[in-house]
Structures are given as structure tokens and as C-alpha cells.
Symmetry: C2
């Protein structure tokens, strides 16, 4: 069954014309923001939920753009009438992040001073810079306070940054499969991805927008990433040691295991929709994110928050682990915040937040329905 909200998607391009001072110290202007909204803003402007996408996501979180779209938005299972982010009740906003390549300004955008793509002259961006752009968008929509911010993975990083930066403007935060800082291992995987891109001669130091893009390197980067999004168990269940398209023995140099074919396919599919330079910029933004480092400790980052928290981790997620979620839970507990935490038992690894919609819908629906106990208001 198709989500019946096709007609209510509001796809918009906003332009932030006031120059944005980035954390790097550089200034960026103008900034284009691609966003979609689902549902309606109420008169009090108190029912807005900001959905924050992950590394390779985009603004198209729910519904179909056209009747013949093959797939709906990336979190369609969670957004719609009667769903966890219930569009009969909430006004859901989803915007593409700064530095990406799906309609919001990024390294593939035109540098107005040169009329050529920024490429690697695009300024380094941070999770904080992404949130600044989102804040301007939300303000431009006339929203003073968000009912909730909701994000998984890199989306959860943005949600954490929202709370630290705008402690009085976020009533609820839902953090899924996320962390306040990447592990050395996660940085290492990102570094390999960047290396694969930069090793592709077509990358040409980022200057490829008028030529063939570095698809081979980007494809390898995506393959590495994909392994980290799954778990060993889910790969075993899904592929095992099955051989693709032959009699079941892998004795020739051409034979491929099913898992190889799958990864190659994922890599090839990805290059059609993603820009290699955005991969570099966004992965660096994730690597650099360090909430405690930026705010002088996690407690300091959370101290002013007037926010209730729901945190969900997934048992087989080895990229953003349960231990990393628990660090957030304990820091919130130490600062007296209202926090609910669940580890969902799932074999699906980091991708679980995109897959385990039934279990997380129950948790999120309940959390969004519950009466918020204003922290500090006791």
C-alpha cells in the first residue's frame, strides 16, 4: 500500500541570503536549501517536527513525488497519517544538509565569485553548520520552538547539536543509532572511503564537474560504507557463502559470491545519485563532530536543554554502538534530564533504524504522545 500523502508533499527550495559564518571562520552565501514538508503547521506553530537525515540521505523522507516512483522517501515507514510521525497531527520538515548534493548548497554548487563549481574550494563544514542552516529554515517558516527533532546516525548528531545550540527551542529529541563522537574505527572506514575517491584519477583533486566523475572510487567507498551499515549476522542471513549465478562452487577467478555482487550493485547504484566531493565533505564533518570537545564536556553541552529525550540503539550496530548511546544516556541522567532509553534487539546492524520501523514506531509514538515534564520545571 502506498502512503496516501503524495499530494501533500511540499517540495521547496529556500534561499538563505544572509551570509552564514561557518565554524571554520569562513563565510558562505548564498545558501540554497532543499526541503520537503508533510502535514500542516497548526495555528500556534507548535507541532513542527524536524527530521534530520543521515550521511547519504536527502530531503525526500516520505511519500512519492510522482505516481510512478519506484520507491517512496527514505523514512516513509515512519512518516504519514497514523504513523509514528503522524502527519494528521504534526508538521514534519525534512531538509537536505549543507554540503550534500541533493538540492542544498555543497561542493558541487556554483561558487558565485567564479561562476564555477566550488569543488574542493568549498569551505569545510561541520554538523554545527548544518544545524545553523536548518535553524534559519525553521525560523523562516515562522517556527520558534520545535515539537521535536528526530534523527538517526548523522541525523542524530544534528539532533544532539540542535539541543546544545538551541536548548530552549527543542522540546523533544529522538536520537537513533547515534553518537557524540565517532570511534577511531569509524573514522578509519571513512578515511578509506575518501582515499578510494581521491585515488580515482577522475577525481582530479575534486575538479571533475565538467568531465567524467570518479565513479569507480565513489563506488568502492560506498561498498566499504555498506559493510559497516550491516552486521556480520545480517550478511550471513542474507547471503551466507552463496555463489552468484553458477553451480555453487567458487573455483574460478570470475566467480562471485552473492555478497560481492550485492556490494558491487550498491556501489554502482550510489554513484548515480551522490557526488564524490560531498562524500568527502560530509564524512569529514562526521569525523570532526565531538559534542564534548565543542562544549567542554557532555554535561555542559546538555546543561541548558529544556528537552525530553528518547534514545534508541540497536544491538548489532557495531558502527554506532549501544555503548555510545549509553554514554549519552548517562550524561543526560547526570544533568537531570528526562531520558528514555531502549536497545532494540535487531540483527540489522546500523541500518536497523531504517528497517526496524515497527518496534521504533511504538517507542516514538508513545514518546511523542506523552506529557512532557519540563526539565527544571519541577
Amino acid at each position: 500500500m502506498r502512503n496516501g500523502i503524495v499530494q501533500s508533499i511540499d517540495i521547496t527550495i529556500a534561499t538563505v541570503s544572509e551570509p552564514l559564518l561557518l565554524e571554520s571562520g569562513r563565510t558562505l552565501t548564498p545558501i540554497t536549501v532543499r526541503y520537503e514538508t508533510y502535514g500542516s503547521l497548526n495555528e500556534e506553530r507548535s507541532n513542527a517536527i524536524l527530521v534530520l537525515h543521515a550521511f547519504s540521505g536527502d530531503a525526500h523522507a516520505a511519500g512519492y513525488h510522482r505516481a510512478d516512483d519506484r520507491a517512496p522517501g527514505w523514512w516513509d515507514t515512519m512518516i504519514g497519517p497514523g504513523r509514528a510521525l503522524d502527519t494528521n497531527r504534526f508538521f514534519v520538515i525534512s531538509s537536505n544538509v549543507l554540503g550534500s548534493c541533493q538540492g542544498t548548497t555543497g561542493p558541487g554548487s556554483e561558487n558565485p565569485e567564479t561562476s564555477r563549481p566550488w569543488a574542493m574550494s568549498f569551505p569545510a563544514i561541520t554538523i554545527g553548520d548544518m544545524v545553523e542552516v536548518q535553524h534559519r529554515l525553521v525560523t523562516a517558516l515562522g517556527i520558534e520552538t520545535l515539537f521535536a527533532v528526530v534523527g538517526g546516525s548523522m541525523g542524530g548528531m544534528q539532533a544532539l547539536e540542535w539541543v546544545a545550540r538551541y536548548p530552549a527551542k527543542v522540546e523533544r529529541a529522538v536520537l537513533l543509532a547515534t553518537t557524540t563522537q565517532l570511534s577511531a574505527q569509524a573514522i578509519a572506514f571513512n578515511a578509506v572511503g575518501r582515499n578510494a575517491i581521491m585515488s580515482d584519477p577522475r577525481w582530479n583533486k575534486g575538479d571533475y564537474y565538467h568531465a567524467e566523475p570518479p565513479s569507480q572510487g565513489l563506488s568502492v567507498a560506498r561498498m566499504v560504507g555498506h559493510i559497516t551499515y550491516l552486521s556480520s549476522e545480517s550478511m550471513r542471513m542474507k547471503f551466507g557463502r552463496r555463489i552468484q549465478d553458477n553451480d555453487g562452487t567458487a573455483r574460478d577467478t570470475e566467480d562471485q559470491f552473492a555478497v560481492e555482487s550485492y556490494l558491487s550493485y550498491q556501489g554502482e547504484k550510489f554513484v548515480d545519485r551522490f557526488d564524490a566531493n560531498s562524500y568527502i565533505y560530509l564524512s569529514r564533518a562526521m569525523d570532526a563532530f565531538d559534542l564534548a570537545g565543542s562544549y567542554g564536556g557532555l554535561e555542559a553541552a546538555f546543561s541548558s536543554a529544556e528537552t525530553s529525550f528518547l534514545i534508541i540503539s540497536y544491538s548489532s550496530d557495531w558502527l554506532f554502538t549501544t555503548e555510545q548511546s549509553k554514554e549519552i544516556v548517562f550524561a543526560l541522567a547526570r544533568t537531570g534530564k528526562e531520558v528514555s532509553y531502549t536497545e532494540i534487539q535487531s540483527p540489522y546492524g546500523h541500518d536497523a533504524f531504517l528497517i526496524e520501523y515497527e518496534l521504533q514506531s511504538e517507542l516514538i509514538s508513545s514518546f511523542l504522545r506523552s506529557r512532557r515534564i519540563t526539565p527544571g520545571g519541577r
Copy 2:
């Protein structure tokens, strides 16, 4: 202190001239084998231990070739007078595997029919083919029965294959950090490495021996591999989120985390000593290895063995896990074999078998000293 066995290394090239029928059905001849020996074969020829190297290893397992060598052989901590593989007592043989690039015939060797390098026309090889070549070498050295076979990782796969193929010729087997078949996840990592190599335009379908080799692709492949050889914990201990060579903030596109620099260095170092086509052939041999599949079950593979086993796994090894070692232990137990098993608590991941020499030396020394209870002879 340098291992005082420099002068006793016997570095030799043997040529197997009788054609070898490979598991693929193709025939290979001649085959050159590079090997080293340490210690002396006794009169009864009953003290030979065959050391089997891992994926990127070579015949140089111990000692120094020249007084100014920067490092000794790869398992020098384990082989020498008074060490676990005590060269006062044992005759230790270490040979480079078929398909490799360190002196034994592989894809970089000359095809005698064309007088050009085999490249990708080299036949697919298997762990079984490697063992066949080793068997010929051992036989040529006049050794009928091996006191022990000892191997970690891919070396452990060869040891398993030795036992299955020559059940009466292997008295003891020491299996470290190994498995009877790779997991889907491990295959996936190998596939990414191969993809990185094949994506490098210099790979040129394997035909690069008279031009620049695909160093960029091979370097990326090694980086991926290296992450899987370490554990998340050891990366955290060794690098954490430290920034290389700057004021400690990673806000620029040029800044590198220490773990990135380390991986890049490992990648660059590797390309000087390893052939990209060997990477493809050997990783495929590992992927295809399936002891149960080849012999109709693990019990069948072990049923005729007159071998005592010592099996060691390492707690943080997520590439070849403790669970995979236990599968071997249980299969041996079910077939009534003598098996001793220990999981060493170690933070060093898969690489632990190259690092935890003190603990594993105790286990291996004791195992090699103990009186063997001939299975079936009860």
C-alpha cells in the same frame, strides 16, 4: 636483542618440475618454491615443523637475512633457540605459498609458454593447491611425517587442509585465529579490496608488469584489510581521535586524524612489497576455502586424522572469531580427536596471533612438549 640465528637461516629456491594438477582442473608447471629453514633435521627426520604464513606473509618467518635488516622475519618472536618453536630441538620450515609474490610461483611469474607474466591468465588456486606444493617440498626434503604444522589466519586454513589431506602425516596441528570458512562479512571485505585494485586504471586487467603497477588501488585494499586486522578497542587505544600534526582540531579539509595517517602509511608501505594480482588470487583462495564443503562435513574432514590439535582464538578478533574456532573444537571433539583450546583475552584483534607471543608461546611450548596420545590408539 637480536635473535642469534642469522647464520643458520637456509634460504632456498626449490623447483617442483612434475606438473601439478590444480583443484580447478588446470595443470601448472614448473613451480618454484621459496622457503627458509631454521634448526636442523634430526637423523630420524621426525622433528620437522612446517610454519604456514598468512595472506600477506612470506617465507621469511624468523631471523635476519643481513646484519643491517631493519626487522627480523614475521614470527621471529616464536621461532629460535629456546622459543616456542625451539630451533635447538626442531627443524622449522617456512615456505611462501603458491600464488604469492615473494619467490614462489604466482600471477607475477613468467608463463613458460608465452615468456610473459601470467597475470590474470594464471590459474585459480586454492588452499588445497598451496598444501600440495608444500607436500612436495616436504617430501623433497626427505620428510615423511611432520612433527607439527603451525599456522595463523590463512596459515591455519592450510594447517586444516594438511590434516584433511594427509591425515597420517601430521602429528600435531596448531591453529591460531583461523576458520574452516570465511564469514560473508570477511568475503565482503576481500571483495572491496579486489574492487579497489581492479578500479585502478593501472591495473589494466592485470597486465601491468611492464608498466606502473596499480599502487593506489592496492593501497586502498590494504587499508581496508588493516582495519579488519585490528579491533575497535586497539584503534581507540592506539589512536583515539588524535589529530596528526596540528593544533588538535579537525576543521579543515586537509587535517588528518592519526588513524588516517597510519592507514595511509600502511597502504603505501604495502605496495612496495606486494603484487596486486597476488592480492586478488590469494584473497579468492581464502574466500573459496570451505573445509566442510570440500570433505562432506567437518567430521568427515577430520575423521582419518592421526593428529593432536591446539587451537587458539583471540577475544577481540572479529574477522576470524572465537565462535569460528569453537566450531572446529566441537567438530574435533565429536570425532574423538585430542584437542586443546584456549581463547586468549587480547585487545589486538586478528593481529593478536602476531603480537601475543608470550601467552601463545606458553601454550604452544607446552603442547609441543606434551606426550601425544595417538588418536584411535587407545
